[in-house]
Amino acid sequence: MVCILGIESSANKVGVGIIRDGEVLSNPRATYHAPFGQGFRPPETAAHHRQNIVRIVIDALQQANIKDPQNEIDGIAYTKGPGMGAPLQVGATVARTLSQLWSVPLYPVNHCIGHIEMGRLITKAENPVVLYVSGGNTQVISYSNQRYRIFGETLDIAVGNCLDRFARLVELPNDPFPAYNLEQLALEGKKLIALPYTVKGMDLSLSGMLSYVERKGLQMIRAGECTAADLCFSLQETIFAMLVEITERAMAHCGSNEVLVVGGVGSNRRLQTMMSIMAEQRGAKLFATDERFCIDNGAMIAQVGWHMANAKMIIALEECSTTQRFRTDQVDVVWRN
């Protein structure tokens, strides 16, 4: 029986999760909401996490019914990267302190692999092509020979970044998150506006589309040619179609009949619908998790830590730093065949 406490703090969410042998015992988290009209910035986000993270650790232990952490927790996992530097440091500092306090091993975890392993645990997908879409990452990933290989990805900004920034332009709130509010407004859209469709083989590019809707789109709204809802609708239709295309191309290339969507944008219902239509036409199966696990959380980090513990990995505390760039395919996935 292996019980791991995981700490996630790479962006504006700080979470602590406890997992024991495939069961999520607790998973509390807090979100820093930037002031209206602004994105979250590293210093303020880190300050929020510093103010909340110890309380969340205590909450996680309470909710998991842990009586004696020193003897019941077998390891600490934390997000090594990728992410924002200052928030990452907060999680790592608490993790290193707990590791010494309880004399348990420390596991540095890649954030992207956290999403993948939690997605696999919750959905029971065997060997899916993974679409990882969030505010900071957009990748099409497939496992092969001890690596999560990146078959396609964004060449500039992440999908969630694009959606969030447009949501700010049309004055949507940051709570619970801008892309969610954009999703709700898109349901009221009636007119499809033609937008740049920029798939490049297995990759895609979003900065041009964002510039287009920032200038031309806002002009059209001011001129009364369309509404903000129409643009939100059109943005989703175009971006998600691009994501479906590159994912399908990867599925064809790998001969896969499973597709797993992870990351914060993975909770978008419209994306799941479009992806499921493609999967159905291919005779494949779509897997997705709900917002408890799609969105950044501590349990997903704990789950990777659990794998690392069972694989008997040992990492010295002096090596347990953080890094803002940490490619998914840099990790040696020793826990899979």
Partner: protein
């Protein structure tokens, strides 16, 4: 937390080109074990790549002793600010978690839920 801070800004007196600005912090952490844990926790992180600041960590009894040197006063200040933030966070972690005990009301409520 009790801190003594000595700050030198003396270009003329610098012994090497890399030490235009220096701060030496003595942070009282109540006992040596706590000081050792916090020292080890903080020593892992590197300064941001843009920064010209460098830190040296030591433990003397129950004090954490940190020497921060920098070419630029701005980076010295940022480094010291970050040091205090992380030191306070590590100390808070130790204090709160050491005080932790599972609340009986949780177990009681769980028992009620199960019955």
């Amino acid at each position: 937390m009790e801190e003594l801070m000595k700050l030198n800004e003396s270009t003329l007196e610098s012994t090497t080109a890399c030490e235009n600005h220096k701060a030496i912090l003595y942070i009282d952490l109540e006992n040596e074990k706590k000081a050792q844990i916090i020292c080890r926790t903080l020593a892992v992180d590197k300064e941001p790549s843009r920064s010209t600041a460098k830190r040296t960590y030591n433990v003397q009894g129950h004090h954490l002793v940190v020497e921060v040197v920098s070419l630029d006063a701005k980076y010295l200040q940022k480094s010291v600010d970050n040091l205090f933030d992380m030191c306070y966070l590590a100390r808070q972690t130790i204090d709160e978690v050491t005080r932790y005990h599972l609340q009986v009301s949780n177990s009681f409520i769980d028992a009620l839920d199960r019955s």
